[in-house]
């Protein structure tokens, strides 16, 4: 079985400050890891992914994430938060073997205060 944990229901950060949204995972085989963002009454938008290679991956809107195999983590980061970054963020995992579905974490609400 595969699973994703997002330990924080909500993260609050001031505009201009760095932000981190945490994600840990469990999967057999090599992981494929993803971050998505959801704005109210919308579907999910893809931000970035880790498949292989560099542990630091860069994505849309200035977001990046660091893959840490030993800690089984894939935290989402941004050096300087914007008010417009306020949304619901989901981490997701699938594995590189078998017919795997995409498993999502419970989501973290990011609130950026002006």
């Amino acid at each position: 079985a595969q699973s994703v944990a997002q330990p924080e229901d909500q993260v609050n950060v001031a505009e201009g400050n760095p932000l981190t949204v945490k994600c840990t995972y469990s999967v057999s085989g090599n992981p494929y890891l993803f971050w998505y963002v959801q704005y109210p009454n919308r579907g999910l938008q893809f931000l970035l992914k880790y498949i292989t290679g560099d542990n630091l991956v860069k994505g849309s809107y200035g977001f990046e994430a660091e893959f840490n195999k030993s800690q089984t983590s894939f935290h989402l980061k941004k050096p300087s938060a914007l008010v417009s970054d306020s949304a619901l963020y989901f981490c997701a995992v699938t594995g590189d073997t078998g017919r795997r579905a995409l498993t999502f974490g419970s989501g973290t609400r990011l609130q950026v205060q002006p």
Binding site: G43, Q45, A101, L102, G105, S106
Partner: protein
């Protein structure tokens, strides 16, 4: 913009009615998914298909059924809607091999 479409966007229907939520993608993706999500809450996988005529139930038990007769089409059917089915239903597709999934805009279902 991703080429995956869900209809209708919003649906209000009475208890006991049969409904079908449509999902189509034009990207030739082999995998398709249905997720159920209450507003602002986590996504629960309810159905999954990895190709034509291949479907599996997801982690969350659901009274809905799906079919995958064509690669591009993955409809979800509720034979008899109940208020407990009120939720948002999100369809997604991807290609096998680590690419990201693309999501439709969702169908917000209300059963009264």
């Amino acid at each position: 913009e991703a080429d995956i479409y869900q209809t209708p966007r919003y649906l209000v229907i009475g208890t006991g009615k049969k409904i079908t939520l449509e999902c189509s993608q034009t990207m030739g993706h082999d995998k398709m998914y249905w997720y159920q999500q209450d507003p602002g809450m986590e996504l629960h996988l309810i159905h999954y298909s990895y190709g034509v005529n291949s479907t599996e139930k997801g982690d969350l038990s659901s009274e809905s059924t799906v079919s995958r007769i064509r690669t591009e089409h993955f409809p979800l059917t509720l034979e008899s809607a109940r208020p407990s089915h009120t939720s948002q239903y999100l369809c997604a597709s991807s290609v096998t091999g680590g690419t990201e999934a693309f999501f439709g805009q969702g169908t917000r279902l209300t059963v009264v």
